[in-house]
Symmetry: C2
Subunit: 246 residues, 2 copies
DNA sequence: AATGATGTATGATATATCTCATATTTTATA
DNA sequence: TATAAAATATGAGATATATCATACATCATT
């Protein structure tokens, strides 16, 4: 249930409150996670090309079409990747948490962002200038291989998630995102839904009304408890069964 | 319409019929496409770790769950990536053509294939032992970066394809796959459908009956012509419009 | 050439999901 | 704090898609 990245994440919150060296990568708990293969000199290159930003809930971090000129990663928070169609309707590709590289998907294959990125909670982002990042990748193939591993893993997860969504009906889709939030994001059975019902619909390609109806149904069936945005999962077993079969 | 990989592909068919050196990478038209960054020595490592296989239509190349111990790429043919559920029903993730690296998706992130691979047409596959491949990646960061680019591009395409499928209705989905086959795979307005109607359904998450009905409707509307498996696209403009809006 | 299995085709009906309408609650902003 | 805007909630009816049934065509195999 608690993997290394989560432990590091909790640890980072602690460090953030006790150290003034946060702005230097040397003391960042993500160092080992992301940049473990780098020597001090390479490390310094990254650190010098790096800026930290804080985004409040609702703020747009990147807009689709914007030129990619940095490597972004999250140290804290939660974001959504999404597209807006001509009529202004959004479709959400994924919800990403610290440890996912926010723009890793497009960074090596595209000059511009294919998806917009917005913060769902207060989000702390590290921004490394792309030229410096690529420079280090080019000169350190262990690091390149490590990036290869991560990009591959994140892509795989996104593909798997979208793929499995396709054969699910609405109940299965809602069960799936509830389990994702409870198990992968918050690691608690009680959490504040970081998105509106409409956004859940935008993520799983369903209407807002049907998301609301399904939430209500799950509540009536005793699978979850609802209090506005606060959701408590009461019956993981049944929810998992719906996820698998529905 | 005709990009470099397609020209190389056509050229490779020519080469295959006129040269006995096909088994040596040195004369493979994919050398520049895949291994352009390698020096002769690295090249030799790849070549020595390489085997060629021919698969007939319908043959399974890899089964999901099978251990990944080679890097596979297609020189000719067409394959599908798919999963089979407990009840024996297939769901197709993607149809891939030469130039796509067949197992690139999982190779760096997973020990085992997440999807089965089967040939839809006679397919020529090069199989490079993974240890040799990774060895070269580790020692040549230009090559690593190039692989990074490609893996990223292919993943992006798969994600984009599954993502756009989600908001489409059945007509849009069928239009989309017809355009994919006509424009990306065969580059002709008349082609033999390489899959059954059932498989189209497995790819776009629709029932066989509805795929058949939609084909019939497109025919009645004069958008396509149907003769068994041979499909002729008569009205690209309308089909593209359905793809976009439906 | 005969035979069974699979694929293609179409209609009728059932089911899932969407749309539209309306009411209430919560949130954002003046 | 007042007010508007957005979010939540629920029902009724419309639409899209699935399921079931049946018929015929095609393909592989004997």
């Amino acid at each position: 249930m608690y993997d290394i990245s989560h432990i590091l994440y909790i640890y980072s919150l602690f460090i953030m409150r006790t150290s003034k060296d946060i702005l230097n990568c040397k003391y960042c708990v993500y160092r080992n996670l992301l940049f473990g293969e780098l020597d001090d000199k390479e490390y310094e290159i990254i650190n010098n090309a790096r800026t930290e930003y804080v985004f409040k809930r609702g703020e747009v971090i990147k807009k689709e079409g914007e030129r990619i000129n940095s490597f972004l990663y999250m140290r804290k928070g939660l974001v959504k990747l999404y597209k807006t169609d001509r009529r202004g309707k959004d479709q959400i590709l994924s919800i990403n948490k610290p440890g996912d590289f926010i723009n890793l998907l497009n960074i090596f294959s595209n000059a511009a962002y294919k998806y917009s990125i917005a913060a769902l909670e207060e989000t702390l982002v590290c921004d490394v200038r792309l030229d410096a990042f690529i420079d280090v990748v080019k000169n350190n193939s262990d690091f390149a291989l490590s990036v290869l591993n991560r990009i591959s893993k994140i892509s795989d997860e996104t593909i798997e998630r979208r793929f499995s969504l396709a054969q699910k009906q609405i109940k299965g889709r809602v069960a799936n995102i509830l389990l994702f939030l409870a198990e992968d994001v918050y690691r608690k059975n009680k959490f504040r839904l970081p998105v509106t019902r409409r956004e859940v619909g935008e993520l799983v390609s369903m209407t807002t009304e049907n998301i609301i109806r399904t939430f209500s149904e799950f509540r009536k069936d005793g699978i979850i408890d609802l209090d506005g945005k606060v959701i408590t999962i009461l019956d993981f077993k049944r929810l998992k069964n719906i996820d698998k079969t529905g």
